[in-house]
């Protein structure tokens, strides 16, 4: 589990989910490698905040659907509810930062293309994909954040995303160390 740039497969996954979450073109350009750096400043922070909110709203929609339909297996519902709560907290934090800076946060999309969710396995695999995409996006973008308050918030959000991802990897029997 080495650090370093995204593998092509991971990059495609992040981009697919970022596009589905309506992430802004400038940020997509950075994530797909066609732009090497974003300009430092308030506008970049706002673009990253909008991108992050898109991913958080997508994650909330997934956990909402999985929990409402009873798709998470009984022993994992508490994890799903906890992770949903974390994503709500991340959303509210970033909405607060945008509003504090005089911006208008983007609303969630009317619906999200979440694919086939018919079983516990489907919803956990999708949750893992969404968490991996969020973790990869925050990791890739965090060095582009210009202000200390948002950088600190993003760091703690990233810690949560890694925890979610690691738990779902373990549930699916994937390597975690």
């Amino acid at each position: 589990m080495a650090d370093g740039p995204l593998s092509p497969a991971r990059r495609r996954l992040v981009l697919d989910l970022a596009r589905a979450a309506a992430v802004a073109p400038a940020v997509l350009g950075f994530l797909d490698g066609s732009v090497s750096a974003l300009p430092r400043g308030a506008e970049t922070d706002i673009a990253i905040l909008h991108a992050a909110l898109g991913l958080e709203n997508e994650a909330i929609a997934l956990y909402d659907r999985g929990l409402a339909r009873g798709l998470f297996p009984a022993g994992l519902r508490d994890h799903a509810a906890e992770f949903r709560g974390d994503h709500l907290g991340h959303r509210d934090t970033q909405v607060g930062i945008i509003e504090e800076r005089g911006g208008r946060p983007p609303a969630p999309l009317p619906s999200y293309e979440l694919g086939r969710l018919a079983s516990g396995d489907d919803v956990i695999r999708k949750a893992l994909l969404v968490e991996v995409a969020a973790q990869e996006a925050y990791t890739a973008l965090i060095g582009q954040i210009g202000t200390k308050d948002y950088l600190l918030s993003a760091a703690f959000i990233l810690v949560d995303e890694v925890r979610h991802m690691t738990v779902w990897r373990r549930v699916l029997g994937l390597r975690i160390y």
Binding site: M1, D3, G96, I142, L151, A155, L158, V159, V162, T166
Partner: protein
């Protein structure tokens, strides 16, 4: 309210600017202090992992994996020190209390994760921030693995 709860409350309510307990590197730390704190906390975790692996053969694989990540992180930090024109790291030898206690390992690991998170704003360099953020991802994963280990030990009674 412990430090973790205070931090989480603060980052979830940035506008309210709740006062934070002071981090090991300090809230106004410079990059050199951040690196020193990380070196110290990493050595603390490494000492515990080695002790646990010696006492508990089933922990060897986890400890080996975490320590290999530490080695890679330390080498990357040295490159960052050169990039930022900081002094080289001093060797960190550690003696720790309760070296075999899982909850003490967890606390040390959490402190190491937080030193990264709270240190990022002090670095002032996008490459350094990106690098230490990737290290933080590894370390947060280690922390979760330790949590899952503690949970499974507790469920076994």
């Amino acid at each position: 309210m412990d430090r973790r709860q205070a931090l989480k409350a603060a980052f979830l309510a940035p506008v309210a600017a709740a006062p934070l307990p002071r981090a090991e590197a300090g809230d106004d730390a410079d990059a050199a202090e951040v690196f020193r704190a990380i070196d110290r906390l990493e050595a603390d975790v490494a000492t515990r992992l080695r002790a646990i692996a010696r006492a508990l053969p089933s922990a060897k694989a986890l400890a080996g994996s975490c320590l290999a990540d530490h080695d890679r992180h330390r080498a990357a930090r040295e490159r960052l020190r050169r990039r930022l024109h900081l002094a080289k790291a001093a060797p960190e030898g550690r003696e720790v209390a309760n070296a075999l206690a899982l909850d003490a390992l967890r606390s040390a690991q959490e402190a190491l994760v937080y030193a990264h998170a709270e240190g990022l704003p002090a670095l002032g360099d996008p490459v350094a921030v990106g690098t230490l953020a990737r290290h933080m991802v590894d370390l947060s994963r280690h922390l979760t693995v330790i949590d899952l280990w503690i949970e499974s030990e507790a469920s076994r009674g």
